[in-house]
Amino acid sequence: MTTEAAEPANAAADVLVTEAESAEPDRATSDVVSVEPDRATLTRRLPRLNLGLDRFSGLYVWTLIILVFGIWLPDTFLTSYNFQIIAGDQAITAMLALGLIIPLAAGVFDLSCAATLGFAVTVVTWLLKEGFNPVLAILITLACGAFIGFVNGLVVVRLNVDSFIGTLGMSSILAAGAYWVTNGEQIVNTFSKSFLDAGSTRLWGVSLPFYYMLLLAAILYVIVDHTPVGRYLYAAGGNPQAARLAGMRVGRVVWGSLITSATLAALTGVILAAKLGSASQDVGPPYLLQAFSAVFLGSTQIKAGRMNVLGTLVAIYLLATGVKGLQLGGSPSYVNSLFNGLALIIAVALAARTYRRK
């Protein structure tokens, strides 16, 4: 590690390292109050028990929920049919949440993702009604999504509008757009059989969207965790100024993240349309809170402190299992919202507490 040119200084430095770490008693410090044992020994003495109660807490809670409802409602809850339903029902929320991870990791909000989803449902339905080829209709819808993301990026990056405000505005514009496309009425009976099949066929008892979601999750997992892209996202989200001074084009990263989330929201919209078989202007918005809850709750899991793919999936299915159990137990429907809200706040508060203790 040392170098010829800087020999003397380095030689001194080397000695400094080795000797400072050795346990040699000091000469100069007669009035020392026991300097040894050094840090290494101190560290070793500490207990090292770690069940990962913080970052895997979601998995523990999930298990607990399954146990409780399994004992309470063995006949209805503890059936493969029930789990197949849970898996299929959450596919749309999960896909939307997965797309949302990207801008949130990069430090910007995309509050327009649910509106984009709803808008995409109406657009693809309307295009099919107008007799477009399904593949073309899907591509046009995805392009709409990408364009929405592009405009979001323009507003946030170029016009320097706070992303919270910019995408909130976009979301309102898209609601108007969805109304305009549908004329405020439901569009029905426009789909070919193959299009409908793509949204509702079951494989091993679970409807296809679940597998699309798994595929998307796998792709995003690889991109976020195993390619440099994830690093750009987290760096831009962690400290944009430092990321810029490390040579990153933070504006591009943010812009790209918004385009990605909007495109994925549009894709989710296409799948939702196939699943529903119809379109009305108000299908999108209810997904917003659920998707955000899942990502935030997920950021306390698996890779605690970061928006991440696996954590988000855990969060989604944890909440869905709880809600389903309550429903089967006969709770009134408003309990869903109550459960979702409480779970989010409690989980994030617990995570914040463990951070603070560190």
């Binding site: 170098t3 800087a6 003397p8 430095a13 300097v35 402190g305």
Partner: protein, 507 residues
């Protein structure tokens, strides 16, 4: 001295998950005393201070009394009520707020009838407090946009401003890390006047000459334990270093062998101008180390970022034969420039990320193959660099936020040294780094130059400039007012040139 101590610390311990940062530290400080607190990076100085301030909750069994009354732990308001005042290592200012609001974070706003804030009076008070420290600047600007030393002044003014209780102990954690010598002297004058008013002062610094110049007594920590507390009188600098690191250092700062082989001009700058800098020309050859000195407001603070394109500028900056457009740090990096910026918290550190990510952020794809990261290989490379810079505790997966200030600085240095840039711009490269590590970093900078990098060092530490550079340019009022070469390169000469010119031009 048989006065009763105003601050009594007994058996203070603090254990972080997996690490003991403080172990049974005892400390007594008397009113009217200036006490230095010294030790290597990561020895626990800031942890001790944060425990006093109520940020960290110490382990059970720790006791602290202030003026005879026990201090409640983990509660910043009780520390404040007890009369403890702090200037933290990272200052603890709110970047988006202006000086007036930041001062009010300490003492609250003065309100008139109806509970409305008396803005005019608040502003006058803020201005006065800063003037006492010798600073005069636009106090309505967000502090994030102020120079580092101006920000330090805001933090000091906040600590000294009138709170609901009188101050008893003033604690300063490396307040001079970003201060040019002349401004540090003004701060010291103020500290002495505070001391004369009967306040106890605890002063943390890695600049040992400040310890000897300012402090009556010194407490040395090593690896979280108390080594000794002694009067500074009768102690020599090398004695103190020995107490800090546990062994005698014959010579910890050896000047480099004269680098003879200077190559072609790598960095060429024509007419570089910013709000303060007025048309700077500069060329730096491969293997050359050029230093910049100057007081706050001389343009020194803007130089490194302007060169790198991190802030708006005019003029032409070329690396080799390629011109770097302004505001494109990405191109600067791509063309082979590296910047270790001042103020690591704002400009360089990713506190929630681990050390590996902090190091590789400037070349995130260096070890990727077919688009996929190869973390294992990268990790061993990063580990080697952390070792080289003696980052402690090491461990590539540790969160940046759990490192001491000096060790965070070493991680940022590792980020750029590892890339082996053609042009290396260092802005306060050893801010907050202890004496031993500083020598190692200087050796690595020598090495980078010997390997053919053109190096620009901007520093308020004039000893450092004298040690590293073959040529030092002194800035005042945005222009180069002096150029010092080998024979003239002494810290005192640099300081004289930096201050002297300003005095002359002011009169």
């Amino acid at each position: 001295m048989v006065a009763t101590p105003v601050l009594c610390v007994r058996r203070l311990s603090k254990t972080f998950p997996g690490q003991r940062a403080l172990a049974d530290v005892d400390l007594d400080v008397e009113p009217g005393e200036i006490r230095a607190l010294v030790g290597q990076n990561g020895c626990g100085k800031s942890t001790l201070i944060k425990a006093l301030a109520g940020f960290h909750e110490p382990d059970a069994g720790s006791e602290v009394t202030v003026a005879g009354k026990p201090l409640a732990f983990g509660d910043p308001t009780s520390a404040d009520a007890a009369g403890l005042r702090f200037v933290h290592q990272d200052l603890g200012l709110v970047a988006a707020l202006d000086a007036v609001d930041n001062l009010a974070l300490g003492h609250g706003y003065e309100t008139g009838r109806l509970g409305l804030i008396r803005w005019r009076r608040e502003r006058a008070r803020a201005r006065e407090a800063l003037q006492e420290l010798g600073y005069e600047f636009e106090i309505s600007r967000p502090v994030g946009g102020l120079a580092a030393s101006e920000r330090t002044a805001v933090a000091v003014a906040r600590a000294l401003s009138r709170h609901s209780t009188p101050p008893r102990v003033l604690v300063l954690d490396e307040p001079t890390a970003n201060l040019p010598a002349a401004e540090a002297d003004r701060l010291f004058a103020l500290v002495r006047s505070v001391r004369d008013a009967g306040v106890a002062v605890i002063f943390v610094s890695h600049h040992l000459e400040e310890v000897f110049g300012l402090c009556d007594t010194v407490t040395v920590l090593r690896d979280g334990r108390l080594v000794t507390t002694r009067p500074t009188a009768g102690l020599t600098e090398s004695d103190l270093v020995e107490l800090m690191i546990g062994r005698r250092l014959a010579q910890y700062d050896v000047p480099p062998a004269e680098t003879a082989h200077q190559g072609d001009v790598v960095l060429d700058v024509r007419g570089l101008a910013t709000a303060v800098l007025g048309g700077l020309d500069l060329s730096v050859r491969a293997g050359e180390v050029v230093g910049f000195a100057g007081i706050t407001g001389s343009g020194r603070e803007e130089l490194a970022l302007a060169l790198f394109g991190g802030r708006p500028r005019t003029g032409v900056v070329t690396i080799g034969d390629r011109t770097v457009p302004q505001l494109r740090p990405d191109l600067a990096v791509q063309y082979g420039m590296g910047l270790v910026p001042a103020e690591r918290h704002a400009n360089a550190a990713f506190l929630d990320a681990d050390l590996q990510e902090n190091v590789v952020v400037a070349s995130p794809a260096a070890f990727a193959r077919r688009g996929l990261l190869r973390r294992g290989r990268e990790r061993s490379d990063v580990a080697r660099w952390l070792e080289r810079l003696n980052v402690r505790p090491s461990g590539t997966q540790r969160a940046m936020s759990t490192l001491s200030g000096g060790n965070q600085q070493k991680v940022v240095l590792a980020r750029w040294l590892r890339r082996q840039p053609h042009v290396l711009v260092l802005d306060e490269p050893t801010q907050g780094v202890d004496v031993g590590a500083k020598a190692e970093i200087h050796a690595l900078v020598d090495q980078a130059a010997a390997d053919g990098a053109a190096v620009v060092v901007v520093s308020t530490d004039h000893d450092e400039l004298a040690r590293l550079c073959g040529r030092v340019l002194v800035l005042a009022g945005g222009r180069v007012v002096a150029e010092l070469h080998h024979a003239d390169l002494h810290a005192d000469r640099i300081t004289a040139a930096a201050v002297g010119h300003t005095l002359r031009s002011a009169s």
